[in-house]
């Protein structure tokens, strides 16, 4: 998991958006790293979390649960979650399980 970039708003002193890249297999271990990083960023005041799935081939059930936790935490803190570069199989999975109702896919 890599923090790819961070951008800061020009007016607000708080940071605005950051991108967190998921690895090739989103399971418990890598998922918890993402969850930790997302929580840390939300607490730091980021308003938008972009999770990049450009390298991700498989997301298992634990990965789904962790992403739901991230979505929930973001919603409770007024932040937005964006999933980027999601492959078709994973998109289908996210749609089937309702994750796409809570995040923006780009």
């Amino acid at each position: 998991m890599i923090i790819e970039n961070e951008s800061r708003g020009s007016v607000e002193p708080k940071p605005e958006s950051c991108t967190i890249a998921a690895g090739d297999y989103l399971n418990k271990l890598s998922g918890e790293e993402i969850e930790y990083e997302c929580r840390r960023r939300i607490e730091a005041g980021y308003r938008e979390l972009v999770v990049s799935f450009s390298k991700t081939e498989i997301v298992n059930s634990i990965g789904i649960s962790i992403l739901l936790g991230v979505i929930d935490t973001a919603a409770n803190n007024g932040a937005r979650v964006v999933f980027s570069d999601v492959n078709q199989d994973t998109t289908d999975l996210f749609e089937m399980l309702g994750l796409t109702k809570h995040v923006t896919l780009i």
């Binding site: 418990k28 298992n60 059930s61 634990i62 990965g63 789904i64 649960s65 962790i66 739901l68 936790g69 979505i71 929930d72 289908d92 999975l93 089937m96 399980l97 309702g98 994750l99 109702k101 809570h102």
Partner: protein
């Protein structure tokens, strides 16, 4: 492929992972946390918790929680009516919105509603409530379908079994602890009884007061010096304490005779090893050789001992230990007809009789133990307590021990050092 099939395949994958997680010997808390992840991820459930039921406290204690907030109660009480209903309901999900007739859902109604909890699954294994799963709304916003409830049930079975196994293990550990405690108590009682017996034996012989206890302690020293483990050393001590138990049946006037006893009296006294064996044999000792030590502690390596005139390897090893300890105590304590012998004489006697009366390796172990204490290598003061400081620190005893040990066992590292003469001979 239809979406329904996709969901089914995804859920089966989660179920397989759950089975794998539960059969792995992972940390229990972590297993439950992962199980909650798997059930949430299988069906896209936003929040939930898994709790274990304490039938003593009548409480559901939360083991894992996701998305329910820090103020979700960690313990939820059940009344007997709740228990009855959950047991009769068995392992099938209850829709919380339709179960408000039960006290449990009335008490926690506000808490469950605020967190949008929808399903409650009592975990019932072998007719006992072992826990429960709370599940919130799905990410799709749809209600749970019948097949999704089946999946929740199937996964709940796995989690319930994991909790039941854990409870069983905890119960086994608790019982093992209880058994260990009882065993320690029994062991302590056994040792107290043995010491009481030793005291009773010694009471009979006013001239050798404390003899059995000292033989027990010298036997323990010899056993530890030859490298026996804690249990075996303890066994040697017990064998020493009880070696003269047969004297309980010998007339007091023979035991206490302040003169050299005649042949008839001697024959009577010499029965005590056999009688001791008869007394000790029916008792289930934790140390199997205790009766043999009593029977053969007057045997000699050269076959001139009694009662059976056994030779060398025929004599049980424990009896050789007790025999040496017995003779050592006899030589180093005052008797009515004989004063204790000087330490250097005792060392000479042991050396002279090694291979005839005593096992040489045991003699070197006993003398080596004395030397270690005198040179400060061993600070336990075991010998000083039994023999007295003055006796132990007799002039020239350290040199005598080194010389004797060097003669008896010149290849051992300790005596090699002694021979080289590089050891500081300070008497402590």
């Amino acid at each position: 492929m239809a979406e329904h099939d996709h969901k089914l395949i995804h859920a089966f994958g989660a179920l397989a992972e759950l089975g794998h997680e539960i059969t792995n010997r992972n940390n229990f808390q972590e297993t439950i946390r992962t199980s909650l992840h798997l059930i949430s991820g299988a069906l896209g459930i936003m929040r939930g918790a898994v709790a274990r039921y304490s039938r003593f406290a009548h409480e559901l204690n939360v083991l894992a929680v996701r998305g329910l907030g820090d103020d979700f109660p960690l313990s939820l009480s059940l009344c007997s009516e709740d228990e009855r209903q959950f047991l009769s309901n068995g392992m099938s999900p209850i829709e919380i919105s339709q179960a408000k007739v039960l006290p449990f859902f009335q008490v926690y109604d506000a808490s469950f509603e605020r967190r949008r909890l929808e399903l409650f699954l009592p975990l019932v294994v072998h007719g006992d409530i072992v826990g429960a799963i709370f599940l919130g709304e799905k990410a799709t916003g749809e209600s749970y379908s019948a097949y999704e409830k089946e999946i929740v049930c199937a996964m709940g079975h796995h989690i319930g079994v994991a909790i039941a196994q854990r409870n069983l293990m905890a119960e086994i550990e608790r019982r093992a602890d209880e058994n260990r405690r009882l065993f320690d108590e029994m062991r302590s009682t056994y040792h107290d009884t043995v010491k009481a017996f030793a005291a009773a034996i010694d009471c009979k012989d006013k001239y050798t007061e404390g003899h059995s206890v000292r033989v027990g302690k010298f036997s323990e020293i010899i056993a530890s010096e030859i490298g026996w483990g804690a249990d075996e050393t303890e066994g040697a001590a017990v064998a020493g304490y009880l070696h003269d138990v047969g004297k309980l049946t010998v007339e007091r006037k023979i035991i206490n005779a302040p003169y050299r006893i005649n042949a008839k009296e001697s024959a009577e006294l010499n029965k005590h090893p056999g009688v001791g064996f008869e007394i000790l044999q029916p008792i289930h000792h934790p140390y199997t050789d205790v009766p043999l030590a009593a029977k053969y502690h007057h045997e000699r390596l050269d076959g001139l001992g009694y009662p059976d005139g056994l030779r060398g390897g025929e004599i049980p090893f424990i009896a050789k230990i007790v025999s040496l300890a017995d003779s050592f105590d006899a030589m180093t304590t005052d008797r009515p007809y004989k004063a204790r012998r000087p330490a250097k004489d005792v060392v000479d006697d042991l050396q002279n009789n090694a291979g005839k009366q005593f096992a040489p390796e045991l003699v070197t172990s006993l003398l080596g133990g004395m030397l270690k204490e005198l040179t400060g290598e061993d600070r336990s003061k075991r010998f000083r307590r039994l023999l007295g400081r003055d006796y132990m620190e007799a002039e020239g005893i350290v040199e005598k021990l080194k010389y004797t040990l060097n003669e008896m066992a010149p290849t051992t590292p300790m005596t090699y050092v002694a021979a080289v003469g590089s050891v500081d001979q300070t008497i402590l």
